[in-house]
Structures are given as structure tokens and as C-alpha cells.
Assembly symmetry: C2
Homo-oligomer: 563 residues x 2
């Protein structure tokens, strides 16, 4: 089947030129760019007055962060012109291990979006936590034979790399031996330490928040992924990179993007729009989003309108609004005039699907499980939230266990619990948290970085148990409960991280969840569920909590609750 | 072992900037670029006032064309700053098959020059000839596991590619399946045919002789190798490519370069000098000769002064004369102040060495072997040389076999013979050639593209036999003989293509050979040995000769001598 795209203006991503040429597609590939006419094709589509450019590539995303399944994610981003993503299934791998990676591969097989997989490098993220799985270099090795696996995902353990720790170096060497890419993650690393990190073979970074940080990395040979995530929109700060000699060493990524953000603002197209609205050349932004992204991963034949390239093609009304009219993926029109054409999601093997959907293993909880057997007053380490940040403080204060078993709403001191949920070990730890402003009820979630155990913050033990039990009932998800009544819930049955509902439903449920935070009395400037999800991540300073206890992140050691 | 290069100016090939930074080397790698001092190193070398840039890369060369062994080639080009080459052992493979490739790999193992190998795609070049070997896709396959094999060398059979012939497509697909590069060779192909050729997966071209030709290729996604060969110096014509948006898709190559040219003018450094002298930015030319060359082959960690990169480093006195002072290869200083430091060539396995040096198999020749049993006058096809070109004409004329057995010095008609020399089959063919101007004696050579059989042009049968026998005695080489006396000879015992003498000796012998052409009476504007070497290559129009007979190149068929 040959299709001719006639009378359009092609954006040549090799040169940045606009060319008046015809594009001939055969099956999944572009076979000609130049003088072709109707007689060369089975079907001719006139795209007069429109632009033809390659489909956009997101060089780094965690699909789980959208809370959507790969199919629903595809449905959401395709109308925005995304035809390929490099996904790091770090979250689901921390829950389901190699099966999590297998699920993401199977659930994206044959999608009208090409989902390349980068193998998660840090499962678990630290040794202080109980993740659902441990992935060694040997565990990752077999995945390199999969045609959609492009390398090793963000190596967050930069101290380990700088120290040349054996296990992380094995993972890096394995990727390099397979001639694949190793993605970086090293915020605010400079000078010698950065040199050492890069010299280990780390090819890029997506954590740059300043031009200075980015330029040092580009000068030292890394490619810079300009991130525009929902919670980390770095693009405006990095706009100066969208000029040479920097631009051709950059690409556009989203990292973590919420469903509502994708629906309302878009995906990589949104980054391009921001760039263009700030006076940047649209051709440069599109080259970053296409060819230069492919080059970062050593991908051949993707990211350009040229002979032999995969026919991932966008028809745009203009290069300023970046209004996407039609989307071709592998030569098939999948979005026509902004409207998604019908397609069916891939089938995942029933055993695997069942496994991924049975990720939540705890016994029914009772009020008693949250009660602390401690008489009188003790001085305790309390996790204190810092406004608008993910870091927390270690607040030493007296807790009177005689009153409300330690909860003190006047001083904004609540209970926080983390309960192991992967293997039903019964492991749990209960501590105190301050700074939420919550006045009643409890909130529970199965999203708790990076091990994704059950995390609960509450004003009383009964609601904490009820919230935990409701998450258990849903097989994963988020819930807000007050006095036994469900205020809002977001079921995440797919590994406790992803919804099986549509993007719109998921976004609406998430919105109601956000609104329920106010009903619990949470301060208006606190995003409770988001902050709660990071309170268990002992790589962000200063005091965090896991199933194993409190972690002093700065000293990288466990500490007791009592001072 | 850590070495610090202090106080130099680094040319940053990622950005084109000049940076005042220290460079720290550990063993074979650069480990730091920035603020380092003596205390970080075992040894500090002050390079104040000098430039530091990556070693030059020649992206496409046939080492056999220099007539030097890999070790002697390395000795010749290292002082010119070349630290890596991508070599296509097409010539030796046509003589010795897979053993020829093995020899080039073994003879370059551990050299202070990194010799990457591209696997010859067209052995034999055509079916009209008798080469020493046939290399199928299956024969090439095992070589992809060698760490220095980067892909498939120039695919000259563009009609075969456009027709999607099974055997050539198998070779291409094999390279692509191994995620390697496929080099192109498609002079003067444009439009649809070029699209079809590129779409097969051909990544670059080194045959461009015009800017128009090059720009079409770059727009269609190929990289363009700007060739500056001894006989094909395209650089001046292609200088306009040394500006963006073209430059970053180009690299510098030599293809075929004679020993004398390397000694007298240089290698890749000579191309950079020509560019700079013509007003081009030296940084752009050096980026083409380093990082962008590495990128063409998907090579990581080579071609830049950056952490983790191989310490192939040049210390230059300036960026205009490109005067190379010191050369580091894999962290070892190999050229100091323009002088080569001592090193030993690698040992090739004795059996393989013996095999490569016993490539010449024919019986002793006699006058009779060149005598044509034909009475009277016959109208014949005569190969007629065209001034300053490799193409020949098919000249139909009457030959009187009764006089001098057909040789007619008045009409400049000589005998030309091609004799199978690989397997001693006794196959030979004798025809007529016009346009050399030769008045006496004979010339013989074992360089006869692409099969490299024994080729002889002569004014009489006795000298033809004597010339052939002398080449046989040398085990390959070139010789000019007059009345039984040797006027000049160039022994090429290594597969009949390469000398085992030094570059200087080889160049001198070649010079004497060139001068002997005049002693034979050859016209002053004819390069006899060079033209003779191409008279057997039936891919260049119009009439050529092989051991099988005359080839009408335009119709791609054998024709009889007699009309």
C-alpha cells in the first residue's frame, strides 16, 4: 500500500529547511521524498498549505506517573503528535520486578505508539526499604534482546557510580556492551564529581534546572533532556539552550506528567509551543523533539521525513500553534483531523495480567494496628514538611502518648504509617508527621516512592485502618476517608499504580481526590497525596519513613523514633 | 597512571568553543576536563599556548591503496594526527577472501592507530571476473562479533540495491540487525533512484563531487564523507558544505591515498589545512574530522576531549597551520614534538602471514602464451583509453595478425593480457589496447581492480612474458621491462597489493616505476600503471577486459574479441 502526501511543506530535520516536496509512503516506511505524483501511489492525500514533520519523541517518561495504562496513555498523547516514547518502568518494576517490565512491553506491543523501554537501573532505589522486587544486572540482561529495549534508564544512584560500586557498574557495563544508551540523573552535580559520573558511561541528563548546569553537561559530552514535567517544568529556565551550539545536543522530555496535564495542555507539543511562544525557532524545537531525540538513543531510521525512515508523520496546520491535524504511525493514519481513529489495545498474557493486578497483599487492618504501645511522654523524631518542597525536616519534639496516642491536632502532629504490601510480611512502621494541616479523617495510598508500599496519614487510628482497608479492597489506589466515610477514591488496580479507566475518568477522580484534601482540613498550599508519596523516599533529605523505620537521609542510616 | 595536560586550550567539539581547561588522563581514557592540578596526576605536562583536540578519524580508506602494511600505514599517518581509521579491506578480500579481512584485523591489533574494519560488501565486484574469493553474507556474519568491526563497507552495487537483489540485501540487513552502519557508494545517483538506494538502509556516501549532489544526500538523511583522495580530491568542490546546516552531517575521508601523498602532504590534517586556507572555520573542519566522524558510525566515547572518552589526543601549535606537535593514542604519547616514539608492529599468526604472502599462483610464462593463433586480418574490439579518465572506448578496427601478431605501434595498438593468478587455473585472455603511446617493452602488475589478477600491456610477447614472470618471482608487484631488462620494479609480496618496505622506500619505488613509463615511450599525460589497474574493472564504462574476455560494460555482457 502506497500513500502519497501531496503539496505539503516538509520540515527537514537534518537541515532545518522547509521543503516543497512530495512524500511517498509504502506500508510502514517513507520510501521517497521529492518529485512523486499520483501514479506512484495507491492513494493520494492533498495536504496543501500544511506542514509535514516527523512524529514527536518523548525521550524520558514514566508512564506509571500518568496513572494510565500504556494503551490509555497512547490514546491520550497521540492526538498531541507523540508517536514514540522512551519509557522507564521504574515504578512498576519496584512493585512487580521483571514481570513489571514484561507487562509494560506486552501492554505496549503493537500499540499505535512506539513505546521503547529503558531498563530500570535502581530497583530498589535504596536498601532502607522493602520493594516488591530486586533487579540485578543479571535480571536485566535478557531484556536487551528485545527490539524495543534501548538501554539502561536513569542511573539515580550517582554516589554509587562515583564510588564505582560493583552492582551499578555491572548494569552500566552490560548496557554499553550491548551498544545501548545509559540515561543519567544527577541534579546539581558539578566539576570533578560530574566528570566521574559521566566517565562511567552516562550519556545524558534530564535533571538540569539551570542553563549553567546544562551547559557544563553538554560541554562534557552529555545530551541534555529538557524536562517539562507536571511538577518539574524546567523548560522556561532552559530556553537559552534552544540556540546553537547547544540545541543539537538537547531533546524534549516529560519525565512525570499527570493525565490532566496531558489532556489539558498536551505533551511534547506543549513544550514546543512554549518554546515558540518565547521566540524560539519552531524548527529547532521540532528537531529536538524528533531527530535529535532519536540520535540520543542511537536509534536509526526514526525521527525524520526521509527515505527508509519509519512513517511516523504529523500533518500540522502551522508551525506556531503546533496544531496537529493528522498523525500517521508506521504509515497508518491514526489521528485524522484531530480525531483518534479506532484501534484495539494489545492483549497481555492472562497470567501476567492477573499477576500485575494482584499486587496488593496485606491482611485486613484494624484500629489496633495503628496504636502505639507507649505510655507517657517521649521525645520523638517527627517528619516535618517544608512548604512547596519534597525535602522534609527532622523535628525533635515531645509526644504525649497519653493523649490521643500521640496525635496532637493543635500542634499539627499526625500519625504516618508505612505497611509492606508486596509479600504480606506484616512489616510496618508508624511515626509522626507535621505540616499537613489535616484536621480529620485519614488518607491512604499505594503510591509511595519508590517501593510503593501502603502509606497512610491520619488523625485517628480508626480512619487510618478504614483508609488502608479501602485501598486493599481496590487492589491499590488512593482514598480519603472521614469518620468511616469515603470522601474520594482513585482505584489503581494495575500494580497499585495505574488505573484501568480512561484518562478523563482518571483525571476526574484525581481531581476529586485533590478536592477531598480540603475536606480533611489539609492546608490549601499542601498537595497531600503527592507529598505523602515522597515521604517514603529515602534519597530526598532529610527525614523519611519506610516499613523498616525512620531514615536519616543525610547520614544514610536508620534512626529510632525516640530520641 | 594519571597524566595531566596543563594550561592548554581545548577545542570542544560538542560546541565548537575554545576552553581554557586542564585535561586529566587515566590509562587509556580521559577522566576529567576542568579544574585539576598536579596533585591529581602522576605526571604533568605543560602545554601552555598550545591547542588540545581529539585525534583525527579517517572515515573511509582502503589501506591497500597506500601499498603499505597496516603497521607502516600507522607509522605514516600518526605524525599527521590520525588516531583512528575506518578501513575497508576490499582489495585484499578480493584476493584472499575472509583471510584477507582476518589479516587486516590481526596486522592492526594493538597498533597505536585504531583500525576499525568495515566489511567489504562486493567481493567479487562483478560476475565477469575471477577474483580470489567470494564473500557471502554468511561469510561476513561472524566478523560482526569483532569489537573493531563497525559495519558493511561501501555498497558499490547500487543497481543491485535498487533492484533489491537478495544477496546484497542480505548483507545490508545483517549489518543493520547488528545495529551497525552501512556505507554507501553511489556517484551521480539522484531523485527516485537515490531514494530507493538510501531507503535500503545506506547511511552515507563518499562519492559526491558536487555540492548539489551532497546537499540532496544530506537532506535525505545520509552523512556525506568529503573525500580528498590522491586521484579524487573532491574537497575544494565541496568546501561550501563546511558551513551549517550541512557541516555537522559531514566527515573527512581519503578513500585512496598514495604513500607519497601521505608523506608529502599529509592525511586528514591536509584536508583541514585546505579548508582553513580557504577561509573555513578550523573548529568546524576539526569537528568533521573527529566527533562527527565517530557519530556517523555510532561510535561512543571516541572523537572528543571529554570524560570517559578514549584518550586519543593531539597537541597542536596552532589551529591554522594544523602543525601537530604531540599525539596521544589511548593515553600513550606516540608522537612527541613531531617525532614518532618507538613501538613494535603486531605479530600476525605465521600460517596467516604465509597464506597472505603466497597469493600469487601462476606457472612460468613464455612468449607463446601471448601469441594469438589467428591468420590474416580481422576486425576487432580494441580498448581505447580516454585522456585523464578511467572510462575507455570500444574502438572497432581491423587488426592484421600477419604483422607482429596484431601489434601495430604506428596505430598505437598494443596487446593487453589478464591472467588468473589466484588459483593457477591457467585462465587468461588477450586483447588489444590503444592510447598508451608505449613504444617498447612491457609493463605488468598484480594490482588490477577489483580481482587483482596479473595484468600485462606490451609491445611484444617476449617482454610481456618476462614482465609477468618478474611479477611472479616477486610474489606480486609491478614491473616495467624493456628487451628483457628490468627498468623498474615495485615488489608487493603482501597479497600482491602491499609492500613490506617502509613508506619512503615504497614511495621511491613507485616514483621510479612512474619514471620508467617514459622509458617505455608512454605518453607523458598517461599514468600507465594506474590506468592499467582499472582496465580490468567492468563497472566503469565502456570496454574492459578480464580473464573471461572482453566486457561491454554498458550492456553488462561479455563480447567476443572479433566483431
Amino acid at each position: 500500500m502506497r500513500i502519497l502526501l501531496k503539496n505539503g511543506t516538509v520540515l527537514n530535520v537534518f537541515t532545518g529547511e522547509e521543503e516543497q516536496v512530495q512524500v511517498l509512503i509504502e506500508n510502514d516506511r517513507i520510501i521517497g521524498v521529492g518529485d512523486y505524483d499520483e501514479q506512484d501511489a495507491d492513494e493520494t492525500r492533498d495536504v496543501s498549505g500544511r506542514y509535514i514533520c516527523p512524529g514527536f519523541i518523548d525521550g524520558h517518561i514514566h508512564i506509571e506517573s500518568t496513572m494510565l495504562t500504556p494503551a490509555e496513555f497512547a490514546r491520550t498523547v497521540l492526538p498531541h503528535g507523540t508517536t514514540s516514547v522512551m519509557a522507564d518502568p521504574h515504578e512498576i518494576a519496584n512493585v512487580c520486578g521483571a514481570d513489571g517490565i514484561r507487562y509494560m512491553l506486552e501492554a505496549s506491543e503493537g500499540l499505535p505508539l512506539t513505546v521503547y523501554i529503558m531498563l530500570p537501573s535502581c530497583v530498589p532505589a535504596t536498601g532502607f526499604d522493602e520493594s516488591g522486587a530486586v533487579l540485578t544486572a543479571e535480571d536485566l540482561e535478557p531484556f536487551y534482546s528485545h527490539p524495543r529495549v534501548l538501554g539502561l534508564a536513569e542511573v539515580m544512584d550517582y554516589p554509587g557510580v562515583i564510588a564505582r560500586n560493583e552492582e551499578i557498574m555491572k548494569k552500566i557495563h552490560s548496557a554499553l556492551r550491548h551498544r545501548r544508551t545509559v540515561n543519567g540523573h544527577a541534579p546539581l552535580l558539578f566539576g570533578r564529581e560530574l566528570d566521574s559520573y559521566i566517565a562511567a558511561g552516562i550519556g545524558d541528563d534530564h535533571e538540569c534546572s539551570s542553563v549553567q548546569e546544562a551547559k557544563e553537561r553538554i560541554r562534557k559530552g552529555q545530551r541534555v533532556m529538557i524536562r517539562q514535567g507536571t511538577a518539574a517544568p524546567n523548560l522556561r529556565d532552559l530556553l537559552p539552550l534552544m540556540e546553537e551550539p547547544w540545541a543539537h545536543r538537547c531533546l524534549l522530555v516529560s519525565d512525570d506528567k499527570h493525565a490532566a496535564d496531558l489532556l489539558n495542555n498536551g505533551h511534547i507539543d506543549a513544550s514546543i509551543r512554549v518554546a515558540v511562544q518565547n521566540g524560539k525557532n519552531p524548527a529547532t524545537a521540532i528537531r529536538m523533539a524528533t531527530l535529535w531525540a532519536a540520535e540520543c538513543f542511537g536509534l536509526r531510521g526514526v525521527g525524520a521525513i526521509a527515505p527508509g525512515y519509519t512513517a511516523d508523520i504529523l500533518i500540522l496546520d502551522d508551525l506556531y500553534q503546533i496544531k496537529i491535524r493528522d498523525v500517521y504511525q508506521k504509515g497508518h493514519m491514526i489521528v485524522e483531523n484531530g480525531r483518534m481513529l479506532p484501534w484495539s489495545p494489545p492483549a497481555v498474557h492472562p497470567d501476567l495480567e492477573k499477576n500485575i493486578r494482584s499486587s496488593f497483599h496485606i491482611n485486613v487492618l484494624s484500629e489496633k494496628d495503628f496504636y502505639m504501645e507507649q505510655p507517657g511522654v517521649r521525645r520523638c523524631h517527627v517528619i516535618r514538611l517544608v512548604k512547596h518542597q519534597l525535602i522534609t525536616e527532622d523535628w525533635g519534639t515531645d509526644i504525649d502518648f497519653g493523649k490521643e496516642n500521640g496525635v496532637d491536632l493543635n500542634r499539627d502532629i499526625l500519625k504516618i504509617a508505612v505497611i509492606e504490601r508486596h509479600k504480606n510480611t506484616g512489616h510496618k512502621y508508624i511515626g509522626f508527621i507535621s505540616g499537613t494541616g489535616m484536621k480529620r479523617g485519614a488518607a491512604a495510598s499505594s503510591i509511595a516512592h519508590d517501593s510503593h508500599n501502603l502509606i497512610i496519614i491520619g488523625t485517628n487510628e480508626a480512619d487510618m485502618a478504614a483508609a488502608g482497608n479501602q485501598v486493599r479492597e481496590m487492589g491499590g489506589g488512593c482514598v480519603a476517608i472521614d469518620n468511616g466515610n469515603i470522601l474520594a477514591e482513585l482505584p489503581l488496580p494495575v500494580s497499585g499504580l495505574m488505573s484501568d479507566a480512561s484518562a478523563r475518568t482518571t483525571a476526574e477522580q484525581n481531581q476529586k481526590l485533590r478536592e477531598s484534601e480540603r475536606l480533611l482540613g489539609v492546608s490549601s498550599d499542601v498537595e497531600l497525596f503527592m507529598l505523602m508519596a515522597f515521604t517514603s523516599l529515602p534519597v530526598i533529605p532529610h527525614l523519611k519513613i519506610t516499613t523498616q523505620g525512620l531514615v536519616d537521609v543525610d547520614r544514610q542510616q536508620m534512626i529510632p523514633l525516640y530520641e
